[in-house]
Structure formats: C-alpha cells, structure tokens
C-alpha cells in the first residue's frame, strides 16, 4: 500500500509538471485530489486495513496530499507568473481612447448666470424670479417711467396683444427691474435679492445687440444702506467673478428709478494697465461697462408703502450676455441663440 502511494506520488508530480495551462492543472487536480481522485480513493479504502497499517498508510496519504497540494499551488503560481509575463510582452496601447462617458453641457449663458448668482448668494442675496410677460405698471409706471416721458425711449418695448384689441398695456419686460417692485410688495425689509431672467427689447440684432437677453437684477433695502455699500458690494462681486485684483469705477448715469444713478465698470482683466485697441474685452478702453445701478428712488419706495425715513436701498441690473461675451472672448452675441452645437460644445 505504501508502495502504491510512492508510485502515485511519482506519477502525480510527473503529470503536474507536464500540465501546460490552467485547465490541464484543473484536470490534474480532479484526477488526483478531486472527490473521486486517485488519492482520495486510496484514502477512502483505508477502512479495510488493519489498524496499525491503517495508521501508517493514513499518515503517509495525508503527507502525500499536502505535498500534492503544495505542488499544485506552486504550479498555479508559476503559470500565473508566466501569464503576467506574457502580458508585459504584448502591452496594451495605452494611448487608445477610453470608452466614452456621457458628456453633457450647460449653455454658456446658464453657466455665466449661475456664476453671477453664486457670487451674490455667497453675500447673502436670495434668488427670486418674476414673470416675463409684464404689465406697463410694473415695468414702467411704478419705476417712475410714465407714459409720454422721454425716459421711455431708453427701453424699446415689445407689446403683447392680450385682448386682441391692440391696447398697449401688457408687454415683454424690458428689464428685470419690475421685480424690484413685485418683491417689495411681497416682503418687508431687510431685503437682499437677485432676480435673474429673460428680458426683451424691440431692437435690431447685430454683433452686440439681441432682442432677447438675460439680466440679473439686484435689490437691497434696509436701514442704513448707502451708495458706498453699493460700490463695495459690486466691487466684491466683480472680484469674485473676474479676479481678486479687479478695480471698479462708478460714473454718472440716469435711471428714473434710482437716485443717485451710476454705471459701474470693471478694469479690463486682459490688457490691465496697457489698453490694447484690439482687446476683445474692453476694445482698448481699459474698462468694461458692467452694469447700471443706484440708490432706490424714494418715490419707488413710496409706491410700495415703505417708510422712506427709515429705509434706503440700492438696486442694480446687469446684462448676462454682455458679461458672457467678455469672459469667454466671444465676438458676436448672435452665437448664443443660434444654438450651433459646434459653438455650444466649447463651454464645458
């Protein structure tokens, strides 16, 4: 019986050495160590032997099992090492492209709008929205732009025919400023909001003009709000959007619903101190006009029954397309709504 085991060991090790791959090794394992393998069968037949011989043969059989299992493990390692070595012999072309992952994009105006709103959110401004189709009252009258006043010429209006009678009382909002009034009617100070949205003007389209565009309105009303706060808040905004070293400049302007009224420009972040007439951002002026602003006119506050002895406020309004043109260096505003994917796909 012990001889039989010795013969088995020799044959098993010879067979294992001859195995060329994983499947041959597995076949070998089944043949010798499997449930019906040769060694298993021998060990199972031990019951017929006398006790002394059964002990000897059993011990030898178990040693043989351990030997064969160790040999199997070693063989498997050798095979794997050989296989991995073969991989290195035929490496992957790692320069081939990976499998595509879906890659969507937001419109550059959405991206710019979000960056603008994000800057104001961080300064505690709430984001609210209002209707695009608006009444003459909110768009003009409540903002001190009466009918038959030349201030109306500042906003060329698209009128909406609601009743079919051509009566001009409903319009596409020409700016987001009507929402100043709507918000103040709804809420009491302190107010700190920004209002994004589409706006519309009766305007011929060219490289710098669109009849549909986006604005962000801002409004802060509370006790003790000053023009210096307006300047500081917008300077902070400009720095968040265009870089920490930006400077802002206020110049005189006129909007009927603010007093004083100003326009705010930011220094050009491309040509800085050396204005370049070819500069795509500032066209050589060194400054980019960013927005119109001012202190909310007391009459507007009175229109919403705020106590003008207690409260002051500032308001501002900016064109999103204008800012997007500048930050991406786009040459023509008409690209935005032509919706050519070859254009849009550049704004990741």
């Amino acid at each position: 019986m012990l001889d039989e085991l010795r013969t088995l060991e020799e044959r098993a090790l010879t067979d294992l050495a001859a195995a060329r791959d994983e499947s041959a090794v597995e076949a070998w394992r089944v043949a010798y160590l499997g449930r019906k393998g040769r060694l298993t069968l021998i060990l199972r037949s031990l019951g017929n032997l006398p006790a002394e011989e059964r002990r000897q043969v059993g011990a030898a059989g178990n040693r043989l099992r351990e030997t064969l299992e160790a040999a199997l493990e070693e063989k498997r390692r050798a095979l794997q090492a050989a296989r991995l070595a073969a991989v290195a012999q035929r490496p992957l072309d790692v320069t081939l492209p990976g499998r595509p992952v879906p890659f969507g994009r937001l419109h550059p105006i959405t991206q710019t709008l979000r960056d603008i709103l994000g800057a104001f959110s961080a300064m505690g401004f709430e984001i609210v929205e209002g209707p695009e189709v608006e009444t003459d009252y909110y768009n003009f009258e409540a903002l001190r732009i009466p009918r038959d006043h030349p201030a109306r010429d500042l906003w060329d209006t698209l009128w909406v025919d609601l009743g079919g009678d051509g009566e001009r009382s409903i319009l596409l909002r020409t700016h987001t400023s009507p929402d100043q009034v709507r918000i103040m009617e709804r809420l009491q100070p302190p107010i700190r909001v920004v209002v994004p949205g589409k706006t519309y003007r009766h305007e011929a389209t060219d490289a710098t003009h669109e009849w549909m565009f986006h604005q962000v309105e801002g409004l802060a009303v509370d006790q003790g709000i000053t023009l210096a706060d307006l300047k500081g808040t917008l300077e902070e905004f400009a720095r968040r959007l265009f870089g920490q070293e930006r400077q802002v400049r206020l110049v005189q302007s006129y909007y009927p619903f603010v007093e004083p009224g100003v326009d705010l420009a930011v220094d050009c972040w491309i040509c800085r101190g050396n204005p370049d007439p070819e500069c795509r951002v500032c066209r050589g002026s060194g400054w980019l006009e960013l927005l119109g602003a001012g202190m909310v006119h007391p009459e507007v506050l009175r229109n919403v029954r705020y106590d003008t002895e207690r409260y002051t406020g500032f308001a501002f309004g900016m064109g999103v397309e204008r800012i997007a043109l500048a930050r991406y260096g786009i040459d023509d505003i008409r690209h935005f709504y032509a919706d050519d994917v070859r254009f849009l796909s550049q704004f990741r």
């Binding site: 492209p97 595509p100 969507g104 994009r105 937001l106 105006i109 979000r114 300064m123 984001i127 609210v128 929205e129 189709v133 009444t135 009918r147 038959d148 006043h149 030349p150 201030a151 698209l158 009128w159 609601l162 051509g166 001009r168 409903i170 596409l172 809420l187 302190p190 700190r192 909001v193 519309y200 009766h202 305007e203 011929a204 389209t205 549909m212 509370d222 003790g224 000053t226 023009l227 210096a228 300047k231 500081g232 808040t233 902070e236 802002v248 206020l250 110049v251 005189q252 006129y254 009927p256 007093e259 004083p260 202190m295 007391p298 919706d339 050519d340 994917v341 070859r342 849009l344 796909s345």
Partner: protein, 799 residues
C-alpha cells in the same frame, strides 16, 4: 448736443485740454460720445490778398500777393476764385497741411512753379482738412483778423454729448458751461441781455391768452419792429453749423442760437401775419388743420396744443411753427415766443404726428418756467443788435400760476444716509454753488438749496446728493459691504427644481440649448394642428422685431426641432438636446400663465465604443432613458401610458404620469412633422411640465436598513399577450412580499412562443429581513407569483 468748445469759451474758461474735459464730463455729467476736432494747423494764418497778377509762364496760374502780420508774400496760385481784397488761409513754407491727393498729412515745402518761387500757399478747404472742396481757395469772412493763426481763428473742438431724458439743460451751452465750471473750478459768465427798449409797450402791441394753463404754464412774448431780415453774420452761422443746425435767416437763426444757448426753445412769428396781433394758447379743435414749416398739411386733434390767432392755429406749440406766419425776407415786425409747454403733451403730439424737432426734444424733458423771460430778453437783444430791430418796451408775460422758486431742504444726516460719507458742509456748499445752486447752511446741520432755473430736474434731497457726489467724484466713496441683518430665506421651489433638472440632464450627457421665446406662426403650425391654434390662439406681439418672432410660444417643440435640424446637418453622431424655458398660455384674466417646461430631443446614431457613430440609430428607449434617469434622480415614480398627441407618431407615444396626473409626453416625432424641418431619419422627443411635476418630487430619501440575510436571484420568463405592458407584469411580481426587485433582461417574440404573445424574462431578487430564505420558500413564492400572473395578466411560464 454738439458743443463747440470755441463757443463754450464765451461762457466759461476752459482750463483743461479737451480730452480731460471729456473724461470729466463722462464721469460726472453725461457721456461724451465723440470728440470732433477741426484744425490743428501749424504755420497757417489769416492773410489778405492785396494783389493778383498773371503768372509769366502759365495761363492757368496766377501770382497772388498776400499780406500777413509780418509782411507780404507772393505765392503761385491755381485757384480760379482768388481776388484782391479776400481774406484767405495763408500757409507758410513748413506748414502742416492735408495732402489733397492722398488725404494724409503733408509738410509744405518751398517750390519753384514754372520758374517762379512760391513763398507759401493759399489753401483750399481740402488742404485744411475741412472738406473735400479743392476747386477754389477758402475765402474767409471780411472781418477775419489778418495775421491771426488760423487755428485760433477757425480751429475748434466739438464735444458730442449724449442726452439724459431728464436733463434738458445739457442741450444748452450755458447748461454745459455750468457743468464745466463745476468740474474745473472756473466761473460761469452769463450773457447780459440788456437792450434799449425804444418801441412802445409790448403789452399794447400784442395780446396773449392762455386757455389751457395745464398745458402751457407760461407764455412770454416780445415784439421787435423794423427788423431787416437777411443772412446772419458769419460767426453766428458758424456756431449754428458747429451745433449741427442749418442757418436760415438772422431772425430764425437768433431763435435757434438762443435755444442752443439757454435750452429754451423760441419761435418767431411774422407779427403782421398774426390776426389782431393776438396769441391764443389752446387745444386744437377736432379736425383743425395747420401747414407746418416743413410744408406738410396736418390734421390736428384736441389732445394737441396749438398757438392760434383769432382766425385759427398758427403753430403747433412746442413742436413746429406754421408756414403762414413764417418769418420771411419781407417781414418787418417779429413777435417772439418764449413759452413753457407741458412736456408729456408735447411728446404725445410729436409722437402722434411723427414730427420731432429741436424744440420738442427739449420741451419733452421738462423745461423750467423760469427760463422763458431770460431767453426772450436775450433773443430780443440779438435782434436789436443783428437785425437792426427796435425793441418794444417790456415783454408780455402771462404766467397764470407762478411757481415758487424751487428749493430743497435737507440735513447732513440725509446726505450721509444716502452716500455713506460725511462731507464737510463747506465742501458741499462749494460743489453745489459751482453748479449754480444757492446754498444756505442753517446751523447745526441743515441745508436749504435754491435750484437754478435750468435745473428743473432737481427736486428732492437725493437729487442734491447726486449733484454733490457726481461732481465731488465717485472715487471719493469708500467701498463698504452690507452689514445689516439677512433676510429670511425666500423659497423658490420651482426655480430650484428647474436648476436641478438642468444639472441632471447635463450630467446624463445632454447639451443644453436656449432658443427664442418668440416664434413664427409657420413654425408653430409645423407642430400644432391649426384647429388647436384657432381654439387657443398663441399670444401675439403687436410690434415684433420680425415675423420670425411674432408669437409667444405655447410649446418648446418647434424651436427644439429646428435646432435639431440645423445641428443634424453638421453632426454625424447622436444629438441629445434639451431646453428648460417657459411656455406661455392665455388664462381668464390678467397676465398669461408662464409654465416652466423641460423638453428634450434625441436623434442620430448612437456612439460606438470609440465615440463615433455606430450603425444603430437611437430609438424610443434612448429618449425614455433620459426621462427615467431624470425621474430616478428626483425620486419620482412615473408611469407611461400609450397615448396620442399631435406631432408624435401614434404607437410610439406615451403620456407620462405621476400619481395619475399627466406631467408630460414622450414619443417619436411624427415623420411628417420631421419632414417639415427637413430632417430624415427618426427623432424622439420628451416634454415635462415642471410645475405639474413639482409636488411629486421626492425630498430627502428615507433610509432603509440593508437586510442582513442573503438575497436569492431567480429567473422568471412569462409569456403574455403582446398588448400587455411589461410594467403591469412587473408590478405583479414586485407586489410579492419577498420580492426585493425584478429586472427585465429580455423581451422575445418569435417561433419559441405562440403568435401574438411575447416572452418577458425577469431576474427576480428575493430577500427577507427576518431570515435566510430556503430554496423551498423561494420556490413557493415563485409559484405564488406565477399563479397571480396567470390570473391577472394571463401569463404562463415559458416552457
């Protein structure tokens, strides 16, 4: 307003160069849109032609002797119009001129022309860069001072100022002079409109009656007799031209000149053509007619204000005079009008008639009633001086409800509240006084400010604060941040949802587009049946930019399909586009309903492993994949029912519902619709009403513990009628208490199943929270499911 700096220098010393002045005006007053320069000549001066002789060697040339400040110079001259006695522009050798051939700069050199030395040149307008005229020399006015550098005599710089709707004063030289004074520290010199009043009392010569004082606050009339109507002197004509106005005759030119000077529009009537020399200011009567100075016969309405005599209208108040009473060369006596008309009425009239004038452009901005007598006196003075007129004594001044001189009273505290700075009272006073305000500082901290007549726009303390800060300089303001309490959060759940939806669609791989809110009727008709358009007409814009953009869109579909079509022409892989925007719908009353909507469209061929186009076109389930992805992200359980909708292909269309409520559509775009957009192949579209979806959107997900016991997976293939929706079968399976999940992995129709039936293969996950499931328990559960499937959906196990 075109402001000639040469003219402006009459009223205020110009202490800074034009560029710096323009910069200060832009920063503090109004934008200087352009700086137009005339001149810049060097070595050119005013000369007198004393002699002209023929050139000894050339028929077409002559020798002109020109006297200048320092002697006589003989030059060769080719101009046909040169003659003794003329004042001319004489250029010395070395002068900087414009090359008449190239238009570029040139330096005049000494030259011998046909054997005669020329000591300089008599210039044409072209050589001076004034115009293209070079046929003859420029002949200067007779009073041009010989020897004066031409640049000093003729050179000028014009600042072209933009206009603010509330600042008529910036349409006047004096108004601009006050600004310049404030910005440079110089003093303003106002004209002194004194003149000899040699005629009879004006009140005896003319009468004025204001019948509608609401539209005419004040009417001042002056009378000048014995006027000689003729051309204005050259200096006056030049100034009008510099301002962009055409000289007509001295009387009319004076009215325009004084308007430019004071900002107060004036009108001159031929006194003898006014019936009874009577002025009546009244509303026009229905159907009254008037031929205006431009020769147009106009029909008037009662909302228009006219100047009439007893026979009828003679002028359109504040807009334009009438032809009948126009000042002509035969005019001997002039009635001068200097009045204050109601701005909105003037604007309405000029808009109604499509007739804008220099006068109406000023009146509509609100001209102060304090100005008319000042401007009237100035004009009469000039008519006396320049037209040889004899002025009547005094003026007729009808001012029914005299306004008090405008004052604004405010405290230092108010300034601080608005501006955030605390300027010393002497500084405030100085700035305001430089602008022409009178300032009374009442201790301890109150100011009483008297507003000058040309600044009717300043009425409240905030206005004065602006006056101060714009001149003092915005750079003087510190930058401070808001410090008060924050306002409570203002929830905008629909906006939040829309922004989430944008992110989800973007992350799923779609490209966002933004298309115009206004579309053409044709575009709408391409996707909406005309019955629907007739039953619920889209909202129309009365004055669209173009017919392409006339209607507020009730659906995003046509815009999206058009965008798809344009991009398919240039793209070979799949396109997946989406837009979130409002659609507009009529409702009972008030403003239309604006519905936040998501729409997406998918077309083209799916990408292959390399990202290039594969052979597989996208299908319904690509579009549905995006929709399901969205709802999964939002925690929404959506259902899909076969349905029909216009523009979508029946049999390939589903209504999307959530909790039984319709929230949108999903389907294949009808090929006939696609054809209208020139698209071949297939396109799939979805549309979700975000407002309808909002109440169903899940909040924070509720955590469920993961079962500690192992899950068991079993396959289950069910054969049902083809018409049975897979989701119904799945619902039955999922309903079993031990089923955790059921995922479809195959749909089969063909030889292996009976005709008209399909096999749905599910991978079903069984799991309990209480124990490890035994094979027997799973077998029993699966048998229970099979029994229910047989009962409820007619399903049989696939053999």
């Amino acid at each position: 307003m075109r402001v000639s700096l040469k003219w402006l220098a009459d009223y205020v010393d110009l202490r800074v160069p034009p560029e710096e002045l323009a910069r200060r005006l832009t920063a503090s007053t109004v934008e200087v849109e352009e700086i137009v320069r005339r001149g810049g000549w060097e070595g050119v001066e005013v000369g007198l032609v004393v002699d002209v002789q023929p050139h000894p060697n050339a028929d077409r040339l002559r020798l002109a002797t020109v006297e200048t400040g320092d002697g006589r110079h003989t030059v060769v001259c080719g101009a046909p119009n040169v003659a003794p006695g003329q004042k001319v522009a004489f250029a010395r050798v070395g002068a900087r001129l414009t090359d008449p051939h190239t238009g570029g700069p040139m330096t005049l050199r000494a030259a011998k022309i046909r054997g005669v030395e020329s000591a300089g040149m008599v210039c044409s307008e072209r050589e001076l860069g004034l115009s293209d005229e070079h046929e003859g020399i420029l002949v200067l006015p007779e009073d041009a001072p010989v020897g004066t550098p031409l640049d000093a005599y003729l050179g000028d710089t014009i600042l072209d100022l933009a206009a603010w709707p509330n600042r008529p004063d910036l349409m006047s030289m004096l108004g601009v002079a006050w600004e310049v004074a404030a910005l440079t520290g110089a003093a303003v010199r106002e004209p002194d409109p004194a003149y000899p009043e040699e005629g009879g009392p004006a009140a005896d010569l003319a009468s004025v009656e204001i019948q509608d004082p609401d539209l005419c606050a004040r009417y001042v009339a002056g009378v000048v007799e014995e006027v000689q109507v003729g051309p204005s002197p050259a200096w006056l004509q030049e100034r009008l031209l510099a301002a962009g106005m055409r000289p007509i005759n001295n009387v009319v030119d004076i009215t325009n000149y004084v308007m430019l000077e004071y900002g107060q529009p004036l009108h001159a009537f031929d006194y003898d053509k006014l019936r009874e020399h009577a002025i009546i200011v009244r509303r026009a009567r229905e159907g009254e007619r008037l031929t205006t100075l431009d020769g147009v016969d106009r029909t008037l309405t009662p909302e228009m204000l006219v100047i009439a005599d007893p026979a009828g209208p003679v002028a359109l108040a504040g807009v334009m005079g009438g032809a009948k009473t126009e000042v002509s060369p035969a005019t001997r006596r002039v009635l001068l009008e200097s009045a204050s008309f109601h701005g909105p009425a003037i604007r309405r009239t000029s808009a109604r008639l499509g007739l804008r004038s220099e006068a109406s452009a000023r009146f509509e901005k609100g001209v102060s009633p304090e100005l008319p007598p000042l401007a009237a006196r100035r004009a009469v003075q000039l008519m006396v001086e320049l037209c040889g007129g004899r002025a009547a004594a005094g003026l007729v001044d009808v001012y029914p409800r005299p306004r008090e001189v405008q004052t604004v009273s405010f405290t230092q505290e108010r300034l601080r509240r608005v501006l955030g700075i605390d300027p010393p009272p002497p500084v405030v006073r100085d700035v305001l006084e430089r602008l022409g305000f009178r300032v009374q500082h009442v201790q301890p901290d109150r100011y009483v400010v008297t507003v000058p007549p040309w600044r009717a726009d300043v009425a409240i303390p905030e206005d004065v604060a602006e006056e101060f800060v714009r001149v003092h300089g915005y750079d003087s303001l510190p930058s401070t941040l808001l410090s008060g309490s924050l306002q409570p959060h203002v929830p905008e759940p629909l906006r939040d949802l829309r922004e989430r939806v944008r992110d989800v669609m973007k992350d799923a791989g779609m490209q966002e587009v933004i298309t115009y809110s206004l579309v053409s009727l044709d575009l709408l008709r391409a996707v909406v049946p005309s019955e629907d358009l007739a039953a619920d007409p889209p909202l129309r814009v009365v004055n669209p930019v173009s017919l392409e953009h006339e209607y507020l869109r009730p659906t995003l579909r046509p815009s999206l399909l058009r965008t798809l079509a344009a991009n398919l022409r240039v793209s070979d892989t799949a396109l997946a586009l989406f837009e979130t925007a409002r659609t507009y719908h009529r409702r009972g009353g008030g403003l239309p309903d604006e519905v936040e909507t998501l729409a997406g469209v998918v077309a083209g061929r799916r990408p292959d492993r390399w990202g290039g186009p594969s052979d597989e076109p996208v299908d319904f389930f690509d579009a549905k994949g995006y929709v399901e992805h969205l709802f999964a992200r939002l925690g929404v359980q959506a259902g899909y029912q076969p349905a029909e909708d216009h523009g979508l292909l029946p049999g390939r269309t589903a209504r999307i519902t959530v909790d039984g409520q319709a929230v949108g559509w999903l389907g294949q775009v009808h090929p006939e619709v696609l054809e209208r957009f020139d698209v071949r192949g297939e396109a799939y579209l979805f549309e979700v009403d975000l407002r309808a979806l909002l109440p169903h959107v899940g909040g924070v997900p509720a955590y469920r513990p993961v079962s500690r016991f192992p899950a068991v997976e079993r396959d289950l293939a069910v054969v049902v009628e083809e018409a049975v929706p897979a989701e119904r079968v799945r619902a039955v399976i999922l309903d079993h208490r031990l089923v955790r999940d059921a995922r479809i992995f195959d749909v089969y129709t063909g030889d292996q199943v009976p005709a008209g039936r399909k096999s749905l293969a599910f991978s079903v996950t069984y799991q309990s929270y209480e124990k490890t499931l035994s094979d027997e328990e799973v077998d029993r559960a699966q048998a229970e499911i099979v029994a229910r499937l047989a009962r409820e959906v007619g399903g049989t196990l696939r053999a």
